[in-house]
């Protein structure tokens, strides 16, 4: 029995690990019933894998049996892998016992599709329900909704789960129909819209009535695979932007495509595109926290993100005319646009300048990365950057290769690979 459960766990954790999301934040479930667990606000990473990703949730598939044959997926029907399936009670027992030992924040449950979407979804819901009602479990639950599952089941899942997600999988409908012939955008966007409406309706009801059952209070997220199809970064961030704007998503995750098959429809790569993925996340942050619009970062003339430098620096280099910015007088929004100044240092600058005029040394102590920032800011005449006199290439070279430049080992390594390949 024990060996069997261990084998199931290896198979079903291994098959679930390509889902990037492991967030456990944003829940609003307080332990008010003297039950087990509490998930308010801040997420916790209980461990980190050797690739440096956060382990916050017990992330497993209920089963890796699947009737679909999506080319990018390890669990596709035609892949000859070992299959396994948990029972409802096994998942509940694992979750409770891992949680009690403080290994995890909760459960991230997804599944391959066996029999039918509704049959699968019904089991996912049953697990979440059992945890909440029979075990008074208040930890975090993230349920991946199954494409094609009925509206009623998704509605019920939202009552027990803190977060629901539907993976958009590929950044364009064309890529999806090529690589995942049984899926289509409609089947993905419909539940996404349903969850969005459920969340909005829940919020409205909460404003009116005292006691309203919660519905996916930590919102919904999605994931798309980068590098398995030919979309440009511009197409990807436009899609992301429309998901944030149109569907009110909390997060869009990007998963650099890791070669999982020799399928001829897929590019033959040996390394996952980790830098491209990283630049996409930086862009995502610029749109969510820095007030950037998608078309400021990329445009049809520049459809790809620069792998060598971050997207904010790239924007600043293209828009040298708005610099230098005076940190002692400029608006917060403008200070945020200085490369090397993050949201934290920007807030500190705005607060600290009420007490004293800021100079370069203070900025450094506040956490500003002067290596990049010095080209773009001024402190009431104390420091005069020469941005106006330098060309884009000159500034770029000085930042990349000048004194004190430290480049991430990862970037160097991967750019070397590119150099060798070409």
């Amino acid at each position: 029995m024990n060996e069997r459960i261990q084998e199931k766990l290896s198979i079903l954790a291994d098959a679930a690990k390509y889902d990037a999301s492991c967030s456990s934040s944003g829940g609003k479930r307080k332990n008010e019933n003297k039950g087990l667990g509490n998930s308010e606000g801040m997420g916790i990473c209980h461990s980190y894998t050797e690739d440096g990703r956060c382990v916050s949730l017990l992330k497993i598939l209920l089963t890796n049996h699947c009737i679909f044959d999506c080319a990018y997926c390890v669990s596709r029907r035609s892949n000859d892998v070992k299959r396994a399936a948990f029972t409802v009670d096994e998942v509940v027992d694992l979750t409770i016992n891992f949680y009690r030992r403080n290994y995890i924040e909760g459960l991230f449950l997804s599944s391959g599709i066996f029999s039918s979407p509704d049959y699968t979804m019904e089991r996912l819901v049953r697990i979440a329900k059992k945890l909440r009602t029979e075990h008074k479990f208040n930890g975090y639950i993230h349920v991946k909704t199954i494409p094609g599952a009925s509206e009623e089941l998704i509605q019920e899942a939202g009552l027990y789960a803190d977060r629901l997600s539907v993976n958009i999988e590929l950044p364009s409908e064309l890529a999806l129909t090529t690589l995942a012939p049984e899926k289509n955008y409609q089947e993905i966007l419909t539940p996404m819209a349903q969850i969005r409406d459920g969340i909005i309706q829940n919020k409205e009801e909460k404003a009116l009535f005292k006691k309203v059952p919660a519905f996916a209070t930590a919102g919904q997220s999605t994931q798309l695979i980068v590098g398995a199809s030919t979309e440009t970064d511009l197409q990807i961030i436009k899609l992301t932007d429309s998901l944030y704007q149109g569907y009110g998503l909390k997060r869009v995750y990007y998963s650099g495509y890791i070669p999982v098959t020799d399928d001829a429809r897929l590019p033959q790569v040996t390394q996952p595109p980790v830098i491209r993925e990283h630049r996409l996340y930086q862009t995502d942050w610029l749109m969510r926290f820095y007030g950037f619009q998608a078309d400021e970062i990329l445009d049809p003339a520049h459809p790809h993100l620069d792998l060598e430098i971050d997207p904010k620096l790239a924007w600043a280099l293209r828009n040298r005319h708005v610099f230098p910015v005076d940190v002692n007088t400029a608006e917060y929004e403008m200070i945020l646009r200085i490369p090397g100044v993050g949201t934290r240092s920007a807030k500190r600058i705005v607060a600290a300048r009420r007490f004293a005029t800021l100079n370069l040394e203070t900025l450094r102590q506040l956490g500003v990365v002067l290596k990049r920032a010095k080209f773009f800011l001024t402190c009431q005449g104390e420091h005069q950057p020469i941005i106006g006199e330098l060309s884009e290439q000159q500034v770029r070279r000085q930042i990349l290769f000048g004194a004190g430049s430290v480049r991430s080992a990862l970037v160097t390594q991967q750019l070397d690979l590119f150099a060798q390949a070409s």
Partner: protein
């Protein structure tokens, strides 16, 4: 060491000059005394209340501190002017309440957090911060141009990180008598700060978290959480205190957790530097997934058409 009871300075030393002579050469709040008496080398009992008592004394005597140290580890120089202060709860409470006149609760809590950081210069730092706040007569917590303010923010942030790490890295083991116990050795004294988190979270199980470095723990008995003191007896390890016999399923869950930990790893993305930055080596000792074990689980090679090598017999 000077064993005579500390003498408060005489009124002349306190600089109790006639009212009119109280000059105004720096902006200050009415009632904040100028520290004109000769500076003293204060010692206290090492508790936060003790430090607050010292702060009270500083303004009572008008004698600035040239040092403030816990008595147990105090180092006194040749020309020291030692003054030991016993903790006085009433005085400590007056200082604690009075702080709210110049700072909000969050800024005040930050001072307590800095104290828990056990940083070597924390006492004088806290004094200088309080003194600056009193004299500026406004909230200085965002005055990042001041080195002391930055240092306070930094220490408080480090403490927050350590607290957060402990909320993450505590690993309970279940004993036969249904107690979940864990041992930790945090860099800073964070037990007082994690009590609420664990009490809310594990409301339906008895648990004990023991700080092996500071020889005390938190124990929750299903109704309340208490601080418990242990002095490990000679030859006995501190961890032995609660380790009766482990629950029979404990080894299973430990094994399953290790299995899970190994299988969520994606070998193609290996990045040990990042791994260690998030999970520094010094914490590994108490992490069950990082313990030496018989079997290391390797990722299932399920991505390519099966070959003889990865085809396992059913």
């Amino acid at each position: 060491m000077d064993t005579s009871p500390p003498q408060p300075p005489s009124p002349a030393e306190r600089g109790a000059a006639p009212e009119g002579a109280r000059e105004v050469n720096q902006p200050r709040r009415v009632g904040v005394p100028v520290l004109t008496a000769p500076p003293r080398d204060y010692t206290y009992d090492g508790t936060f209340e003790g430090l607050l008592t010292v702060l009270f004394t500083v303004y009572d005597w008008r004698a600035a501190p040239s040092s403030i140290q816990p008595e147990a580890t105090a180092q006194t120089g040749l020309f020291a002017q030692p003054a030991h202060r016993e903790t006085n709860e009433a005085q400590a409470a007056r200082v604690w309440d009075g702080l709210l006149k110049t700072m909000d609760r969050e800024a005040r809590a930050r001072l307590y957090h800095v104290f828990l950081s056990e940083d070597a210069g924390r006492e004088l730092l806290i004094f200088r911060y309080v003194d600056l706040a009193l004299r500026m007569a406004r909230d200085i917590s965002e005055n990042y141009a001041s080195a002391d303010v930055r240092r306070i923010q930094r220490l408080a942030q480090q403490l927050f990180r350590e607290k957060h790490r402990m909320e993450a890295f505590v690993r309970f083991e279940k004993t036969q008598d249904e107690l979940f116990h864990a041992t930790i050795e945090p860099d800073m004294d964070v037990l007082p700060l994690i009590a609420a988190h664990f009490t809310k979270r594990y409301a339906d199980q008895r648990w004990l978290i023991y700080d092996r470095r500071r020889h005390y723990g938190l124990y929750y008995d299903l109704t309340r959480t208490d601080v418990v003191q242990f002095e490990p007896a000679a030859g006995q390890k501190a961890t032995d205190i609660s380790a009766t016999v482990l629950d029979e399923r404990e080894p299973l869950f430990r094994l399953l957790w290790q299995t899970y930990f190994d299988h969520v790893n994606i070998p193609e993305r290996k990045n040990l530097k990042l791994h260690r930055r998030h999970m520094p080596l010094r914490y590994w000792r108490y992490l069950s997934e990082k313990q030496p074990r018989e079997q290391r689980f390797v990722s299932i090679d399920n991505k390519r058409p099966p070959t003889d090598a990865n085809l396992r017999p059913e």
